[in-house]
Symmetry: C2
Subunit: 188 residues, 2 copies
């Protein structure tokens, strides 16, 4: 029941309209490096987040473009920005706060879409069968070492396009003292 863990740093997914507002008309995201999930990639593009209490500079854009813009930050980032971001699964942004996005070619006043990503496990349907779990099942995950923790309320996301990996944010990863690629244990 072992799988690798990965720490997601703060990042932004952008709609094509917002890409063009921030980086210029007709702009397309450039590949910096592939991510573990097939088709996803880190971009060369970075933007600044400007909230009522502070600014976070140089936040990485992840591609490809999405139907709507979403900002994923940590709770600490939310305090620094002055934005009360809820812990949510990706895509569940209804009623979440906005923030100002600042790029080299312009700004976007995002009305909503700032969340703290809820921890989850990506896996293929074959992985799910091997683990004996189903898409949307809630499981726990144990980490190892001096800062060992058991994360409860971990969502399984099983899809034929997914590669096996647990995603936590940087605060969760550091709290557990784990590094990218380290093995953790799924507990049903």
């Amino acid at each position: 029941m072992k799988l690798p863990i990965a720490l997601s740093n703060r990042h932004v997914h952008l709609s094509q309209a917002d890409i063009e507002a921030l980086f210029g008309a007709g702009h397309e995201l450039t590949h910096f490096k592939p991510l573990s999930q097939p088709g996803q990639f880190a971009c060369d593009e970075k933007i600044d987040l400007v909230g009522p209490k502070g600014t976070i500079k140089g936040v990485r854009v992840l591609g490809p473009a999405r139907p709507s813009t979403q900002v994923e930050i940590s709770l600490a980032d939310g305090f620094a920005l002055g934005v009360k971001a809820p812990v949510r699964q990706s895509g569940d942004v209804a009623g979440s706060p906005g923030v100002k996005l600042v790029g080299p070619a312009g700004e976007v006043e995002l009305a909503e879409g700032v969340i703290v990503a809820s921890r989850h496990i990506h896996m293929s349907l074959e992985d799910a069968a091997n683990f004996g779990v189903e898409d949307k099942q809630i499981v726990s995950v144990r980490t190892f070492g001096p800062r060992a923790v058991v994360f409860e309320n971990v969502l399984v996301r099983a899809n034929e396009a997914f590669a096996l990996e647990m995603h936590v944010d940087v605060e969760e990863g550091n709290a557990a003292g784990v590094k990218n690629g380290e093995e953790v244990e799924l507990i049903k």
Copy 2:
């Protein structure tokens, strides 16, 4: 088996010699507010930490003065400073890295003393008897809510001078989604 949790932000304990080097000859720490542990207090004084990769400004000094200077940061702070701070119990600083401390009246090149404080529970001897645990025992602690976790490897520190409270750093607290004073559960 319930007790309150508290999140410790980055802070510095200073020796009297370093207080005077940073704030001027004869300087004594000023009380800003009392902390939960009897006799401990947050000071008005703040300093900057300067590491090989970055600076963290405005780090709060905690009083009273101690025999030796100790800097307590998060793993994320360590990355930002470029300092590889080990996870250690307070006072266990042998072989830990140093950092430059900058105050309004001078600087101190600290040779060692930068740690990430290991999570622990302060309690009185009476609390220890009530919980059925002993000083230096290792226990687990469960938190509640959407980001519920079980922290393993939690050190009990039982002393007649201590007030009942679990201490975690900000990353651990945010990873669990807990706030200061929230109740958590000791698990033997």
